[in-house]
């Protein structure tokens, strides 16, 4: 039964997208993925608004102190197993804004990032591939015998 769940999960990654201070270039490319020409829905990728429904968190932008809190909050609400995709040069390292006073230099300082999609702005194909790669990770994680998902609640508490 679990096998079936793992298999299905991989076939339909649901993503939640958060703009953590991008220039909108990457954001519209994430949205462009969903629209007819690129149409990632054919891979079962659906953009949802609610983090509680999502498997993959797609983050664009540089991250600053105020949205780091929101970002962490979103990530914590996502159910296990989950994965994070950082999209664009800014999300990787801060990009051209590396030196700015309000920039935290990339998402990986805040969340564990699984897939990095470079580019300014990355092409929609690259973003779609990044999400699919993240799903591989999610599937692996869900098969791990002691993954948090399968652990008993008491055990999960201990882990924390």
């Amino acid at each position: 039964m679990f096998n079936f769940v793992h298999k299905c999960r991989k076939k339909s990654p649901w993503i939640v997208h958060f703009d953590a201070g991008a220039c909108n270039g990457c954001d519209i490319e994430v949205l462009a993925c969903l629209t007819p020409v690129y149409d990632v829905e054919r891979f079962g990728i659906i953009n949802v608004g609610n983090p509680k429904h999502a498997d993959v968190l797609v983050v664009t932008g540089t991250c600053n102190r105020r949205n780091a809190r929101v970002l962490r909050n979103l990530y914590e609400q996502m159910p296990e197993p989950r994965a994070v995709v950082a999209v664009g040069a800014c999300a990787l390292s801060g990009g051209i804004f590396h030196e700015c006073y309000n920039v935290l230099k990339g998402v990986d300082g805040i969340l564990p990032v699984d897939v990095y999609v470079p580019g300014c702005a990355p092409r929609p194909e690259a973003i779609a591939e990044g999400v699919l790669m993240a799903m591989e990770r999610v599937e692996q994680r869900s098969r791990e015998p002691h993954s948090q998902m399968q652990a008993e609640p008491a055990e999960r508490e201990e882990r924390r």
Binding site: C23, G25, D27, A32, N64, N67, V70, I96, N102
Partner: protein, 359 residues
Amino acid sequence: MALKTVIPFGPQHPVLPEPIQLKLVMKDEVVQEAIPHIGYVHRGIEKAAEKMDYVQNVFLVERICGICSFLHALCYCEAIEKLLPCEVPPRARYLRVIWGELHRLQSQHLWLGLFADAFGYESLFMEFWRNRERVMDLFEKTAGSRIIISTCCIGGVRRDISDEHLEEILQTLKEVERALDHSIPALLEDYTVRKRIVGKGVLTAEKAVELGAVGPVLRASGIAEDTRMTGYAAYDELDFKPVVETAGDCYARAKVRALECYQGIELIRQAIQRLPDGEIAARPRGRPNGRVVTRVEQPRGELLYMVAANGSQKLERMRVRTPTFANVPPLVAMLPGCEFADVPVITLSIDPCISCTER
């Protein structure tokens, strides 16, 4: 006795692609007061512009906003060209109009799609975005990139558009126009859609000026002000009239933007027709010195750059005032009195671009 509640709207919200938070003070279903909270995407670009030299800044300002990056670069280059001073060759001025209007065209498509999505008309959202991809392909063909095309440089433009590509632009514009003829009536004449947007978020002409509204928000309230009328780039040699509506509601704002798509297509055709031959860039000499204010019309409204230079490699100060920054106070004035279900529609009707706003 109705209870007053405060509902935070944003920064991450299904219908809101932008991280802005509105604290809505509600009485039952009616908004009493809206307080905007921004700062979720503040990076500090104005400070970074003082650290980089004036040529590098072109790349920085392009990344203030990915939707209208060309127009940011254009406005900045116009400012530096006034300070150097440096004469831009005529062909470059026309090429700037072509790329600028293509950017406007894709931005208006983007907005029309998001607006349709705001009241749940998803198939129309898809229609507009499919049409937008045609314009994006043009960017990729002419400039090599989809979003940040980086073709504007100080003194002119970096690339030429070949005759072959010009022909292709004209051909694609025909297709875009045909698709618009098909999808815009679905937005503006549909009974259900009209129910959602007519008479919502009304802004009178007097209020619009008082609150400093710009761009389509100002023009939808009956004021014919379009910064392109000041004649930067080659706009002084092209014929166009600003699109004006008088109702000042969400419907009028949607209509202004829809008609500006056609206006943009017309302007590109004129520019291609009158495109002169010659150089595409002048070599800038010297270093910028002095202070200057330039303005260009972005898809969202008037964009202002003030540059202060002191004859060195680095600028003393670069100030950016983006259109959404000016349109937030009108939004704050529009929301009280509306129903909660209309908040996303009204918020989107100003076409918020928060990464512009906070820089």
